[in-house]
Structures are given as C-alpha cells and as structure tokens.
C-alpha cells in the first residue's frame, strides 16, 4: 500500500489554474525528488498535501485514510511534516518555542492549574533535538529572527523531525546552506530512509536530487510530465523535461 496517494488534484487561485489534476504516489521510506521550473506548482502541490491549501478537486490519501478534508493540525498529527520554502518560523518567538509550536506539552501548575506549558521540557527536548542534528545555535532562548538564514533552516528541519513523522516534505531545504550543511541534510535524508521515513525533496539543485532520491518526478505547468527512476535516467533527460524540450 502507498503511504501517500494523490488522485486528480486540482487547484486554482482565482483565474490562474496552478494544478491541473495531479496523480502521485509515495511509498513508506521512499525518497522522492520533485523538480520543475519556477512557478510549476511544486510548493502549491505540497501545501495541498499538508492541508495549508484546500484542493478544488481530487483526493489526498495518507496511510490508508482520506485526509482531503482534514486541517493542517490533524494531518500533522497523522505524521505529515513539511519544511516550507519560506520556513514559516515565528521570528520573535524563541528557538525552542518555534520547534514545539502547535504541539506544546503541558502539565498542571502546582499540580492544580491546567494547561501550563512545560517550558522546561520544551527547552530540554529542543536542545536534545538540535544536538542530535549536530546543529549549533547560541541558545534555544534567543528569538529565531536573530539567527542566520542557514541556522533558521535547520530550526525548521528540527521542528519537522521532532514528532516522529512518516512523511517529511522539504521545499528547498538547502537553498540557504553552505556546502557542508547541504551534505549533512542529504545524509539526514539517508538516515530517515533507514528509519522508514518517506521524504519528498524539492530542489533546483539537480546534483542534490540525484544524490538523495531514487525516484524523480517532474512537474510542469501543474502536470506531472515525468516519473523517472534515478538508475534509468540522467540529468540531461530531467532538464529536458523541466524546460519542456522533451518529445
């Protein structure tokens, strides 16, 4: 059974048709590369998977359940996480709170008053997660907005991995990273595959895509125009699909 299954997904913004009936499947533990020109609809497609956008037509199934009408919180609960292209971090909130945003663990204050956010636990677990990822930030107490672009990107990655996801969507996760950090993200994807976590990697850097992904899907003007096995294709072919020069 497929972990994720999209069938006939359509989406338009006003008069602009962005997705024209997309079919796509992803297996558990699979690493899929999604490529396409600027404006091809990659981010829009991924946001319809996480529920940030509702689809006009079509179905999204995850883990055997139709999630088309679930909200982003419910889909996160089921194990869909996404690192957004714009990162979607709250700049004035601190690192730890960002990692736990929407998932704050609570306890009773003085054993009495309910809904007390367990800040100590948030700080400790956030620090553990960052250590595990080998990320260095000065402190989990500083506002995310004061970190560098690359550091912010790793905070977004930490947030996606903290809650035992089944599928992690990464929208340009390496765009702001130095060479060494890019390598560690690719290594991380490998590690996730070993743990059975599926990944969809969106990137304009085809080298990275070929290194990390066994399967590559090309989106062009809101249609899937190619679904290729890494071992049976090459960069030239993928590029020709991206620019629409194929066939």
């Amino acid at each position: 059974m497929n972990l994720l299954e999209l069938a006939g997904v359509k989406k338009s913004f006003g008069a602009v048709q962005v997705l024209n009936g997309v079919d796509l499947t992803v297996d558990a533990g699979e690493v899929l590369g999604l490529v396409g020109d600027n404006g091809a609809g990659k981010s829009t497609l991924m946001k319809s998977i996480t529920g940030v956008y509702s689809t006009d037509k079509g179905h999204v199934r995850f883990d055997g359940i139709d999630v088309t009408h679930l909200d982003p919180g419910e889909r996160r609960e089921m194990g869909i996480e996404m690192i957004y292209q714009d990162l979607a971090l709250a700049a004035q909130q601190d690192v730890a709170n960002n990692i736990f945003l929407g998932r704050e663990p609570t306890k009773r204050m003085l054993g009495l008053i309910p809904s007390f956010v367990d800040k100590r636990r948030i700080d400790r677990q956030a620090q553990e997660m960052l250590d595990q990822l080998g990320v260095h930030v000065p402190s989990v107490h500083i506002p995310v907005g004061m970190l560098s672009g690359g550091q912010q990107q790793t905070i977004a990655i930490a947030r996606a991995l903290t809650f035992k996801p089944k599928l992690v969507i990464m929208d340009e996760p390496t765009a702001a990273l130095a060479v060494r950090e890019v390598e560690s993200v690719l290594k991380l994807i490998d590690q996730m595959r070993a743990e059975g976590i599926a990944t969809i990697l969106i990137s304009h850097r085809l080298n990275d895509v070929f290194e990390a992904c066994e399967r590559i899907v090309v989106l062009r003007r809101g249609n899937v125009i190619a679904d290729l096995k890494r071992d049976k294709t090459d960069m030239a072919e993928v590029v020709s699909y991206i620019v629409g020069a194929h066939g």
Partner: protein, 323 residues
C-alpha cells in the same frame, strides 16, 4: 529584579517612566492643609488605581488582540453598551441583581464575537470591523437607554464598584484577579503561545496546525468580554448604566498596551507590562487633574503619548536592524 522583568517580558524603561512620572507629578502637585503633597496621599493613590482599573481591564483586551497583530477600536463603545445592558436588565426590567453581571459581560462578549465573526468569515480588516462596531455599539447603547443614564442599582452591584474591603476598593481586586488570569493565559498556556505566534507570522501558525480562525474568533471575544467587565465596574462605581461611558477609552487602552511593550505589529505582548502602561496613563491623568489642567489638554497629552511611544519603538527597532 531585572530578571523578573525579563521573564515577564516587562520593559525596564516602562517601569522607569512610571517612577519618573510619579516623581514629577508629586513635585508639581499642590500641598494639602497638613503639608503633604496631594499626589502622595493614600486617597489619591486609590483614586489613581480606581481610575486605571476601568481602562486597565480594557487594555488587557487590547493586549490580546494587538499581540496577535489585530486591533480593537470598539473597546470604549462596547464598554458603554455593556454598562447600559446590565443596568437596563436590572433597573428597567427589574430582573434579579446578578443579571447586571450577566448582561454586561454577555453584551461585551457578544459584541466581541460579532467582531471576530466578521473579521474571520468575511475577511474584512479588523481595523474596519471594529471601527464600525465603535459606532454601532455606541448607537445601540444610546437606543437601549433612550439617551439617558439608567440610575439606581442594587447594593450587590454597587459593592463591585464602591466597597472597600480591607480599605482597598473592590475594582482593584477585580483588576488584579483579571490581570493574573490574563497573564497566565498569555504567558503560560498553548493558547497564549499560539496568540503570539499568530501575531508574529500567520503562515507559521497555520503551518504548525494552529486553527487561526478559531484563535482570532476567541481573541476578539475575549477583548469584548474585557470591555464587558470594565462596563460592569463603571456601572457599579457611578451607580448608573451610562450610554456615554468609556468614550474614547480605546485611546487610553491601546496606549497603555503599547507603552507596556506590546508590539503594535504583533508577536509580543505582556499583561504585566500593560498594567504598568495603564498605571502610567492613570498617573498622567491624575497628575494633570491635580494641577487643574483642562480635560481638553489631557486628551491631547494622551494622544501625544501614544504617537511618541510608537515613534520611539520604531526608532529603536530600526536602530537594531541597522546594527
């Protein structure tokens, strides 16, 4: 001390302004018969807190919506609507005394819920919706009361405004209780975290699964509820459901929140800071009263403080981002 301020997100500057202002007012205020500065008498101290209590509670509502990058311009008018709604039920309709509480709090929360509903469902900017509500609530208050004060409330209600258990006016107890609960919710619950995150970056809130629409709906309802509580206290203090109560109080409330450190653009807010802001406004008003400065000039002073506070904040944040 500094650590406590930091933990509660209170700006040390606002505390300094409060102390400085109090010193200035003490020096400038006239001397009583027994040779004490009027400003420094215990009675005057309670006057300040009593006056601050009404718009202090409004300022709590303002803090919630502003730190979520919203605004509520209808606070003062909803206070007036709540004041006459409670009084009309008990005085005009002769229902039991507790309907003054139900009526005031209910009218406030309902007006806030209407704001929230139109903002979230109709995608009309909060600025416009609450500006419209400013007119609607005031008009409704005048209609309900036929343009006159509704006088003569039962003693149970007067207790909420005029009694002094242990020598301290009841509204002070109410303000402190409301402020503590509001502080707990904003600083220590998921609801508070979500409020600040929503004001910080709506995309972030949505992406992490926060129900943005429900959050906003609740925030405007809370803001209205605060106006309801303030309206009840007002009624009890003057023994009248007054349709003109809270006129231009939104100016005081928003100013108190902003000088207390709430980020006008969302993402940051502290109830304790707001309380200091409310005291600053209270001291300013009281001091000007004691010096017999005309009310017209006081309005100008308060407006100027609001603009100056935001201006200074802009200079400071610009300076920071240029570094």
């Amino acid at each position: 001390m500094l650590k406590l301020l930091e933990r509660t997100h209170v700006r040390p500057e606002s505390l300094a302004v409060l102390v400085g202002l109090a010193v200035v007012m003490a020096i400038l205020s006239p001397v009583t018969g027994s040779g004490v500065r009027v400003f420094l008498t215990a009675n005057n101290f309670f006057n300040i807190i009593l006056a601050s209590a009404t718009f202090g509670i409004l300022a709590i509502g303002a803090t919630y919506v502003i730190s979520a990058a919203g605004i509520d311009l209808s606070l003062g008018s909803v206070l007036g609507l709540a004041s006459v709604s409670g009084a009309a039920l008990v005085v005009t309709l002769e229902w039991p005394w507790y309907f003054a509480i139900i009526g005031s709090l209910g009218a406030g929360a309902a007006a806030g819920a209407v704001n929230g509903f139109i903002i979230t469902r109709g995608h009309v900017p909060a600025f416009i919706v609450t500006l419209g509500m400013l007119g609607i609530a005031r008009g409704l208050a005048l209609i309900i009361s036929d343009g006159r004060g509704i006088y003569g409330l039962p003693p149970e209600i007067l207790f909420l405004g005029q009694a002094r258990p242990w020598g301290i006016p009841t509204p002070v107890f109410i303000l402190v209780a409301v402020a503590l609960v509001a502080h707990y919710i904003l600083a220590h619950t998921p609801f508070g975290h979500h409020t600040l995150a929503l004001g910080d970056n709506e995309n972030s809130a949505r992406a992490t699964g926060i129900n943005v629409r429900r959050q906003r709906m609740m925030l405007y309802t809370i803001s209205g509820l605060m106006a309801g509580i303030a309206g009840l206290i007002f009624t009890a203090r003057v023994n009248t459901g007054d349709p003109t109560a809270g006129l231009s109080y939104e100016l005081l409330a928003i100013t108190a929140a902003i000088i207390g450190g709430t980020n006008l653009f969302g993402g940051r807010g502290s109830i304790l800071g707001t309380m200091i802001g409310a005291l600053i406004m209270g001291v300013l008003q009281n001091g000007l009263n004691l010096m017999a400065v005309q009310a017209y000039y006081q309005q100008m002073a308060i407006g100027a403080v609001l603009i100056a506070a935001v201006w200074l904040d802009q200079i400071r944040t610009r300076g920071r981002s240029l570094q």
